[in-house]
Amino acid sequence: MVSFRFHQYQVVGRALPTPGDEQPKIYRMKLWATNEVRAKSKFWYFLRKLKKVKKSNGQILALNEIFERYPTVVKNYGIWLRYQSRTGYHNMYKEFRDTTLNGAVEQMYDEMASRHRVRSPCIQIIKTATVPNDMCKRENTKQFHDEKIRFPLIFKKVRPPSRVLKTTFKASRPNLFM
């Protein structure tokens, strides 16, 4: 499998125990980051917004990477996100078809960057879910739910099997029909 830019981590943390509160509540978060250090940082960023705790008076109890359970099964992923555009914050729901959740999240980041010019620091993933076929909302994903789907490939990509065999000049024009 190709290596993913964004990995899914489960981060568990709590405030440090104080004389006033011996057993502070433990919070768990699932988030996406490029590496573990960033995952911990993101955890504190979100937790600060929700609870009165900061990295200086808190501790991370666990940090685990979450891997895809069934990476050979095609699934529909629904991603709810909050992003910052040039004019303010907006919520969005996007659907992707992929085999892994990390792949779908990567698709989401690419699509937000291309369609809305939103860079990855400005995107917050609110929720992700595997959506069963009948609950999908977007026509783009629903068109692949046909059991007997078939379509022709209309253009053949004519290229040498590897970059080293590339030549500037060819003897004849390529045949692009499949």
């Binding site: 050979t72 095609v74 789907i149």
Partner: protein, 133 residues
């Protein structure tokens, strides 16, 4: 000019780019417009872009995302391997592989065989010319 080879579940395709170059795979599911889930008896099921696939004429009868056992049984039932090796495309690939794997002695033997064949052809041609003259 209609299309005869379709991307569909059960279509046999050849990977023509990348690490898995030259492998015959079966399209087992379609992920989206650009990618398919492919599988072969001796590899882990993985996703691949259509740009890396060359579709063949062979199609087997499988349900969507079958178990490995079902896939292998269906490939045996449709006799994919023999149909491929007998097809002109398959035969050409076998010849290419053979030629690429020749050592110097083999190439010497090929040269002698070519000379012999050329000699036989020239003899026949001379006979025909004599008859025509």
């Amino acid at each position: 000019m209609t299309f005869k080879r379709f991307v569909e579940i059960g279509r046999v395709a050849l990977i023509n780019y990348g690490k898995e170059y030259g492998r015959l795979v079966v399209i087992v599911d379609i992920i989206d417009q650009n990618r398919a889930l492919v599988d072969a008896p001796d590899m882990v099921r993985c996703q691949i872009n259509f740009k890396r696939l060359a579709l063949t004429d062979i199609k087997i009868d499988i349900p969507k995302s079958p178990k490995k056992k079902t896939l292998i049984a269906a490939m045996e039932a449709a006799d994919v391997k023999n149909r491929w090796e007998k097809s002109s495309w398959g035969r050409k690939l076998i010849v290419q592989k053979k030629r690429a794997s020749l050592n110097d002695f083999d190439r010497f033997k090929v040269m002698l065989a070519k000379i012999k064949r050329g000699g036989v052809v020239k003899q026949e041609l001379a006979k025909l010319k004599k008859q025509a003259a």
